[in-house]
Structures are given as structure tokens and as C-alpha cells.
Subunit: 272 residues, 2 copies
DNA sequence: TTTCAAGTTCCAATATGTGAAACTTGGTTT
DNA sequence: AAACCAAGTTTCACATATTGGAACTTGAAA
């Protein structure tokens, strides 16, 4: 679960490592919980937690004496989701796609070496955003993960692969670098890939990368279903439709410019 | 828009200041855009941006040569929203409330000296989460902002007030500390407050703080409408119902413990 | 009262961050 | 093609912030 973000980004990198560590617990934690897993001495961890808390990146619950990721992150993520994710651009496309094919559509991007889902549409369901966006999954055994990896430059790919756990989830999980690399080559040949119950039993999907004109990986799109409802051949038949959506998203992402509001910035906020 | 998070939290604080600065533009920015507004010399800003980018807190678009808040924030915010915000607990309550009263319900918390909306339910509308959660607004001229301020301890209140801009949005905006303090006293007496078109013309709301048993401010709840649809007296009639929701949320927030999953942590993620 | 774990503070040594200035890059003008 | 300029990047001596061992405080339990 630890991540080699670069190597050493000095104090800031270490502080963010602590932030990630707190987040990784998935529940509010005590100082000692953090200390236990942190690769720094007590006083150092203490100072980082103090700083992060004072900065609003962590929130402290005085009743329970616990720390959790702070709401300042929610505000920052609002900007991030709008500006750095494909979701705002992709939303109409994946919405239409989900409606047409009648299956769940995922939009994902790479975060470090993990798959980060930035949007999810379940046809007919109202959208429960934060509970879905922000979720992470393994790259080596999900459709979107493999689709993205297949189009990374060799260097970057090597770095990503080096961070995969190759944990065996099901009998179909690709459990070695060798198997994965072979699969990636296949995906490159076809232009699309599948998840053949590699991560969860009965869950299958067809996934397609979203690429810039220069071939840079922006993200990936997948249509997910279960073996009870359908099969790989049927999903494969949807590929042209998914491809159209992926292409449309890529086009818009490249031509998209933020409306120039630099001067009409909301003057509403706190003191300037 | 600048914020005095504590005073100086050393290097980490400065780096986060740059992060906030980038986010504050509301659009992808060039290095020089950041430099222009940053209170640090070129080389220093440069190093921070490099570090933040390498850390995934900023994302860099090589085509356009711009920086924007990075998707790592989305992952972190997922944890933050689940653990530090009232939203997951409050959702059923505010959902029911919105349905019953047939008006928009906001759930907000304080982030530094600003109001941060963590959830919003529009009755009959599907939920568009990230586009709403994460939004910020001024504390001194919103119902939720005033409701929360009314119950802060004097010290904290002073700090928050000191950061208000008192920008005049409408003819009803409380434009001075004095006027605001008088209003807060009123709110304390009643236990609830209003937004009387103070922020936007025609927009009114009734707001109620969410407090722990010890009186600590957790957040605030509001029912929003417009002068075309209703009036303050009608909103005031809803107060008991809103109060019930706020109380229910406060109770659950206090008794809530995260299910102890410390050992069954998802083994799915990247390398351990 | 004693004990212990958890959390907090201190401070000398030194690793880190700082920022003026020099340099490189890529595009535009003469 | 040469000169120019703005934007971005690198360098390095200096100063400061970070480091972490150890001592201290707190609060709960024996």
C-alpha cells in the first residue's frame, strides 16, 4: 500500500506520505496507529500530524482523539475533479453510453500505479458520486488498468508494473509480470481489452483506453457486467460503441479550454 | 482568497499554500501565473510545483504546459468525505428532509473561515455530487455560515470573523462585524437563523447548526428556497422539522464508530 | 501510591530549503 | 540569420528549518 512517489521529495514528500498513511487506514486513527506504520521517529511524525492538522489536511476529533483526512481535501478535490479529471467532459458521453448499452460504465485514470475511478454510471440509478469517485483498484487485474498500461511508454510502464502486487484474487488473475506483459501486447494489437473475472468472480468487462492524438494515456472507459447477465462475446460486440465514446472524450479533452474567467473569479470567498 | 492557516507551518505549509493558490485559479495555470501571485521567489515556487507535481497533488498537462490540482486529491478526498464529513451519516436524514419539505437542502461544514458545502439534495433531482460537494461560500452572509459561527467559542469566532471580507452582495448583506455579531446573538437565542437574500437576490434559507452534546460545532443544515416560491415565515415553520434532522445527525455522528476493519484492509491495492 | 502507555516538548547537530543570479529554450522581431 | 525577449530551468553558497534522541507530562489502570 506504500507508494514510491518519485523518491524523496524532501519534507513535503514525507508529510504527504503521512497524509496518505492516515488515509490508507480507511478509518479515523490515533497518533500511535500512525506512528506504528510510519517510517519516521516519533517526534517527526508528531510534527507532521500537527502541521497537517493545522493546515486542514487532517481533521482531529478531540472527543475520540483521532485523526482523519480533512475536509480541506474535499475543497481541493472539487477543483481537481473539475480540472484534472476527464469526468466533467466525459459525463454526457458515458451517460449516453450507459443508457444505450444498459450496463454500468466506469471512467478511470491512473493515480501513481493504481486505477482511480473518477466516475461511474449505473443505468437507471441516481448518481451517488463521492461514494464512487475516488475509489481505487489494482491496475494489473482490472480492464481499465490493463487498457491504460497497454499504452504507456516503456519506462513509465516498467515503473507501474514494479508497483503491482500481483495478488491472486481469482483463478483467472494474471499473477505475473510475464502474463501481464503478454496480455498488454494483445490489448495493443486489438485496441481494447477485457477483465475476464480477474479481479472479482463473475465480474467481466470490456475496456478501452482514452488517448490523445499523440498517444498519451488520458484514462480508460469500461463497460462492466456479470457472467450471469452476459458474456465476453456480447461485450466485445459493444466495443465499437465504446470506442466511439472514448474517441469523443479524447477529442473534447484535447480541444477543451477552460472558459477564461480569470477576472470574474467569484469574489464571494473569504477575505482577499 | 488567501488564508492564514495557522501562521507558518514551515515548508509543508508553504507548499500547501502553493497548492491552494493553483486551485484558486479555477482553471489550469502556467508556471508564471502561479509565480505572479505567489509570495515566494521564482526558484522556490518552481521547486514546490515540481514537488507537488511529482507527488500527484498537481497534474501537469505537457501539451498546454499547465498545472491543475491533481487526481491524487480525488482519492484523498474520498477518504475525507467518508470519514471527516457528516455527509455519509447525514445523507438519509437530509434526503428525507428534502423530500418532505420539497425544497433544496444543504449540508455544510467550516473549512478555515469559509463555508464548505459537503452535500446538497434537490428534491426530485438525481444527485450530481462532485459538482456540488466541495463548493465554498462566504460564512458571514449565508445561513449555514452564520448558524455555525453563532456557536463557535469566542476565540475561534474572532479568528473566523477576522477573515471575512464583508463584501456587499445585496442590499441585505450584513456588511460589518458589528451587524454580524448582533445577528449571531439573535441566532443563539433562537437556535436557528436565516439568510435574508444576503448573498443572492431572491434566495432565502433557514439554517440550523449541528452540534455535539458538548456544544461543539460539527456543521449546519439549511433549507433553501426563493422569494418567488415562499417566504421567511413559511421557512420558519419548517424549523422544527429541520431541527429534528439536525439533532438526529448530531446523535449519529457522536455514537458512530467506524466498523473495525483494521485487519481486513483491502489487499487489492498496489504493492504492500 | 506506583506503573505504564500514550502523547507532548526540548534542543544541539545538521540535513534541507532558500533565492539571487546565471543559464537554456523556443518563439518572435529586425 | 542574427538579435532579442519572455518563459522556464539549473546552480550553489548561505541560512534556516528539520531532525530525532531523550526527557517530560498526562491520564488511566493496577
Amino acid at each position: 500500500m506504500s507508494q514510491d512517489r518519485g523518491k524523496s521529495d524532501g519534507t513535503v514528500g514525507k508529510a504527504l506520505e503521512i497524509l496518505d498513511l492516515v488515509a490508507s487506514f480507511g478509518r479515523p486513527v490515533r497518533f500511535s496507529d500512525v506512528l506504528e506504520r510510519a517510517p519516521f521517529p516519533k517526534a517527526t511524525v508528531y510534527r507532521f500530524i500537527q502541521t497537517l492538522t493545522s493546515q486542514g489536511m487532517l481533521s482531529y476529533d478531540p472527543d475520540r482523539q483521532t485523526y482523519a483526512p480533512g475536509i480541506r481535501l474535499v475543497r481541493l478535490a472539487h477543483s481537481a475533479w473539475q480540472q484534472s479529471s476527464l469526468a466533467p467532459i466525459a459525463r454526457p458521453h458515458i451517460d449516453a453510453l450507459a443508457q444505450e448499452v444498459g450496463e454500468t460504465v466506469h471512467l478511470a485514470q491512473l493515480d501513481n500505479a493504481q486505477v482511480l475511478y473518477v466516475d461511474k454510471i449505473v443505468p437507471g440509478q441516481p448518481i451517488e458520486m463521492y461514494s464512487q469517485a475516488g475509489k481505487v483498484g489494482p491496475a494489473y487485474c482490472t480492464g481499465v488498468g490493463k487498457a491504460m498500461m497497454a499504452y504507456l511508454e516503456p519506462e513509465h510502464l516498467a515503473a507501474v508494473i514494479a508497483q503491482q502486487s500481483f495478488h491472486v484474487f481469482t483463478e483467472y488473475t494474471l499473477a505475473s509480470e510475464q502474463a501481464l506483459r503478454a496480455e498488454l501486447m494483445d490489448i495493443r494489437t486489438n485496441g481494447y481489452g477485457f477483465d475476464r473475472e480477474e479481479h472479482e468472480p463473475n465480474i467481466i468487462c470490456a475496456a478501452i483506453p482514452i488517448l490523445t492524438a499523440q498517444g498519451r494515456v488520458l484514462g480508460a472507459l469500461s463497460v462492466t457486467s456479470s457472467t450471469q447477465r452476459t458474456n465476453l462475446a456480447a461485450l466485445e460486440a459493444l466495443v465499437p460503441r465504446i470506442l466511439r465514446a472514448a474517441f469523443a472524450i479524447a477529442c473534447e479533452a484535447e480541444s477543451w479550454r477552460f472558459p477564461d474567467q480569470s477576472n470574474m473569479q467569484s469574489a464571494q470567498a473569504a477575505k482577499g
